[in-house]
Every structure is written in C-alpha cells, then in structure tokens.
C-alpha cells in the first residue's frame, strides 16, 4: 500500500522538516567553530572525550537506559496486552495509572518515591531506572496501545495457542513482532528519556551523562553544543539500527536460502 502525498501534505512535511532540521544544522555548524575564528574544526568533539568523568558518566547512563528498557518491556508489554484481551474491565484503570506521571511534577515524584524505595537501592544510581520507568510509562502505554489496536489481537492469540504455543511463545514470537514498530518506538522513547533526563538525577545527586554534560559545558560553550549534537546523533543512529535489524536479518536469511 503506497499512499500518495498531496501538495498540502508535502508543504506541511517540508515545513516540519525545516523546523526540525534547521536548528540541528545550525547547532552542528556552531559546534564546529573554533575559538578565535580559526575556521571549522572537530576540536570541540575531541574536547568532549578528554573531559574528566566522560566515560564513567556515559557508561552509567547507558547502563541505566538498558535496565530501564528491560523493566519497561517486561512490565508494560504483558500488561497492555492483558488489558486488550481478557482484562478489558481494567483498561480504564490501567490507562489512568499509566498517564498519571504526566501530571505529577518530577520533584514530588523524586521525594515521594525516594522514601518508598528499598534501602538497598537508595544509594545506587540504579534507583533511577525505576523512576525512569514511571516517567516513560505514559508514552510507552500510548505507543503500545495504538500498536495493539491496529492488529486483530485476539484472533492472533487464539491462532497461536491452537497451534501449540504457550503464552511466552505467543508473546515473543507473535505479539511483539506483530507490533514491532510500536515496540521499537516505545524502546526508543525510553532510551532517549533515560539518556537525557536531568532533573531527577540532579535532585537525587546522581552523576549521569546529562549532569556531567551540564557541569563541563560551563567551561566551553562550543563544546556544550557539540555534546548536544553528539547525544542527538547517537540516539538517531541507535533508532535507525533498531529499525533496520529485522530487515538486515531477513536479507541474511535470503542469502542463505539462495546459497
């Protein structure tokens, strides 16, 4: 199914793209300037990695992001699938619960939830994972909900079960792949959120990539922009890789079959 774009659609897309891309290009250009008008240079980028604490901060954030994604997957996918199938009664309740974090200021979340957190977690930065799961919930719920609405879920589940699959196989082999673009979207939102979240990390005195970046940017204005560009670029590359993994895999599979 190929959809034709109307002229109006194209104008809107062009406008949105300009709105999105222009600041990026401007930022990239700015980040490549040198002090004292020496033309364009990558100096600001190499400056980033040479700052004290760069790799520990980045690794901490990546670890947090990975764990957050794992928790989100294990917690949210089965829950949203459940309310789409047998638990229709609970759908409103789950929806409201999942959307709640939008209206709760992170400050009150930080202080309130900090108290409820088990002692063993309170001192480690992994505590942040649980906060990020909560903060990501509204977006993840919406994304998965839309994905599940677009497939004949109960028929797929019944087909899979009648063919002998248990719940775990049905979930991992049928449902998640069937809503792959939604799952990918939910993962990406979670990843971007965990990697870029600043307020909670500062409030709870943890050193993550965003808090580190804020600290070091105060010394080099060009460098701070270079950090933004790198973060954004990195996130995009991650998204593209995730989106293309299935295609690359099927390409290999086809090669094998031909061989």
């Amino acid at each position: 199914m190929k959809r034709k774009f109307t002229a109006f659609d194209k104008v809107i897309i062009a406008f949105a793209a300009f709105f999105f891309i222009a600041p990026l290009i401007a930022a990239a250009e700015y980040s490549a300037r040198g002090y004292g008008d020496k033309g364009h240079t990558f100096a600001n980028y190499s400056w980033i990695v040479h700052q004290l604490g760069f790799s520990p901060a980045l690794l901490t954030s990546l670890r947090i992001a990975a764990i957050t994604i794992l928790i989100v997957l294990v917690l949210m996918v089965p829950t949203v699938v459940y309310v789409h199938l047998g638990g229709r009664r609970y759908r409103r309740l789950v929806e409201i619960l999942c959307l709640l974090p939008i209206v709760i200021p992170v400050v009150s979340l930080a202080i309130g939830a900090q108290v409820a957190m088990p002692k063993s977690l309170q001192s480690t930065s992994y505590e942040l994972c649980f906060f990020y799961v909560v903060v990501a919930m509204p977006y993840v719920y919406r994304t998965l909900d839309i994905g599940l609405q677009s497939v004949a879920l109960s028929t797929l589940v019944e087909a899979s079960q009648s063919l002998g699959a248990d719940w775990f196989k049905t979930l991992t082999m049928v449902i998640i792949p069937a809503i792959r673009s939604s799952t990918t979207g939910a993962l990406f939102i979670t990843f971007a959120l965990s990697l870029g979240e600043y307020t909670l990390a500062v409030l709870l005195h943890f050193h993550t990539f965003p808090t580190w970046a804020t600290n070091v940017s105060q010394q080099n204005i060009y460098g701070s922009i270079a950090i933004s560009v790198t973060t954004l670029g990195g996130a995009w590359i991650f998204l593209i890789v995730i989106a293309f993994i299935p295609r690359i895999k099927s390409l290999f599979a086809q090669r094998k079959r031909v061989a």
Binding site: V151, E158, S162, L163, A165, D166, A178
Partner: protein
C-alpha cells in the same frame, strides 16, 4: 499426509453469558473423517461451540471429548486442534511459509523438516509459488489458503473452521469451498465447519446441524434437512419457504389456498379452527394458466427452473418454481391456478 480421523463428542454442553444462553444443552458427535457443519443465523452460538472445543472458552458445563478422552483438563495449546478463522489471523510479521511452519517451530521440529513439510502443505493448497510473500501481499482467498495449510501442518486431530469464506467474494468463495472439501476428504480429517450461509453448508457437508438461539434444532444429511425438516425454524432457514396463512380443519388436516392437506409429523399440536401458517417450498406448487384467479407479478429465470411471484390475495407474494420449459407459456400479468402437490405440509402457530 494421512491422518486418522478422530471422534469428537459434545455432551450436554451449556454456556451462558449473563442471561444469554449461547449454548443450551448442546450435544453432537462427529464421526472419524466426517465434515459436520453448524448452520445458523448470527449470534446463535456457532462460534461459542468451536471455542469450547478448541479449549479457548472453558467456562462451560457439560463434557467435550476427543477420541473418548475428556478434554476439560487439557489447555488450548495441548489439544492439537487446527483452527481457521474468518480473517486477519495470519501472523503479519511472518511470510506464508513461516506462518505454515509456526506450529512445527513451536513444537521444536528442526528447520529442515519444518520447511519441507510447510512446502508440502503450501503445495496442497496451491500456493507453492507464494511461499515468501507476507500476508499483506496475498489476496483474501490466498490468505485463507495459507491459514488452512497452517492449521493442517500440525497434523491436528480435528479441524475447526469459523466462517472461513464469509469475507471473500462470491466467486472465490464457491471455488475455495470445493477445495476445502476436497482437501478435507483426501486427508480424512474430522472437521467442524461453521457458517450462516445455507448454500455453503449444503454444498460441502456430510451432515449439517441447524442452530437457533443456542439450541441444535436438527442435524442431518443436507438432503434430509431440506426434505424432512423437523422444526419450522429449520424449514424456514434451509431453502426458500413460503409462509401461507391457513386454518386447521381438524387435528390432522389444514386448509391452505382452498386445498385440504395433511399436517406433517413435526408440526406443533393444533385443534380444529386454529389460525396457522403453512410452510410450503416453491417447488411444491403446480401452476396452470387460467382465465381468472391468482396473478403472476414477477418472473425470474434461474436456469433449469423459473421462479414466479404470484399474488393470491395473501399479504406476501407466493413464490413457486416450475421448469423453465413450462414457464415459457406463462407471463407476468397472466392469471394462474395454484395447487400444492405434496401430501403433507408443516405448519406453525401464527
């Protein structure tokens, strides 16, 4: 592939949703290799019966057995039942062949075996050239063929089909139903087919069960169902029937269109002078040209027979079918005399 046909038995199965009786004391036996169809209007409980047999719906009373084994403790994924749904049941992320191989993959069959077996099945349903297509790249009819191949790949003991043709166009529908029947009888699998289309049911089944509001009213061979309906509902649902106002003359005689006829066995009990309706099939009439009487209003050519719509003064037109050769002599606007040729008629209370 050669399956031994299993025996399926429903015994006094009941299922209610709130106050709705979806299945009411439902009993049915499917013999090995037999194709039984459940026929009935939407909402009469056909899907409920299938879901109970498949183990998807377990909130029922009564017993379901396959080959004499009680299924109440067997979950859906251990029943080894093949299911074909109305539409949209193929896994969208898998190609046709991956869909067919899914049941084997779940069972841990190695990839060589499952690929060759899946190809065999795609061949059986005539889709060997479409193996690597995704569901969205297949037509509705092709998708249902893949769904059938997928259901058969696990060598199920029973095959269940829930209105598998109702989302397709008429031409594909007629073709595919013949093919389902051919494949079913070739491999000899016991099959429960569900439809609301009486023509479809009559065309492919060994036996047809007519359902009404959760009750299995009659189950018989197609011809018997048509010629010897046991309830007015069955008579009305299977084939075209005229409902003609009539008055009883005694417990066993009824006056229809000024003709005195015997009341058939399966009619409700009546006494003299009851106002009833007589159920008469279009081919039970003889039509003769006359100088006065009933008027022919419509005439439709149906091939070997022609259907006349005749105004006899009752609220509805009466439909009579005569051979097209005889019909040459009769035109719309002509006067005719109608007589009923059958010995006994079924009646129902007004």
């Amino acid at each position: 592939m050669d399956l031994h046909g299993s025996t399926v038995e429903f015994r006094n199965v009941k299922r209610t949703f709130g106050t709705v009786k979806a299945l009411d004391d439902f009993s049915l036996t499917i013999k090995p290799g037999e194709l039984v169809t459940l026929l009935g209007p939407s909402g009469c409980g056909k899907t409920t019966a299938l879901r109970i047999l498949a183990g998807i719906d377990k909130e029922h009373e009564g017993i379901v057995e396959i080959d004499g084994k009680d299924m109440s403790q067997v979950p859906a994924n251990k029943r080894n039942i093949g299911m074909v749904f109305q539409a949209y049941s193929l896994f969208p992320n898998m190609t046709a062949i991956e869909n067919v191989a899914y049941g084997l993959r779940v069972r841990g069959v190695d990839s060589h075996k499952r690929e060759s077996r899946a190809r065999e099945l795609l061949d059986l349903v005539g889709l060997s050239t479409q193996a690597d297509r995704r569901p969205t790249q297949l037509s509705g009819g092709q998708q249902q063929r893949v769904a059938l191949a997928r259901a058969l790949a696990i060598e199920p003991s029973v095959l269940l089909l829930d209105e598998p043709l109702s989302a397709l166009d008429a031409q594909v529908r007629a073709q595919l139903r013949e093919e389902i029947r051919r494949i079913q009888s070739t491999i000899g699998i016991s099959t429960l087919f569900v439809t609301h289309d009486q023509e479809e049911a009559m065309a492919i089944s060994d036996r047809v069960g007519v359902m009404n509001k959760g009750v299995l009213e009659q189950i018989d061979e197609p011809g018997k169902l048509y010629n010897k309906p046991r309830t007015p509902f069955v008579a009305g649902f299977v084939g075209l029937t005229n409902y003609i106002p009539a008055v009883t003359e005694s417990k066993s005689l009824v006056l229809v269109l000024s003709q005195s006829l015997e009341i058939s066995d399966h009619s409700p009990a009546v006494k003299k002078g009851d106002e009833v309706r007589a159920l008469i099939r279009p081919e039970e009439f003889e039509v003769q040209k006359a100088d006065e009487g009933a008027t022919v209003i419509t005439k439709s050519f149906l091939g070997p027979v022609t259907r006349l719509g005749i105004d006899v003064g009752t609220p509805d037109l009466i439909y009579a079918e005569i051979t097209s050769k005889e019909a040459k002599k009769i035109d719309t606007g002509d006067f005719v005399r109608l007589s009923i040729s059958s010995d006994a008629v079924m009646i129902e209370h007004v």
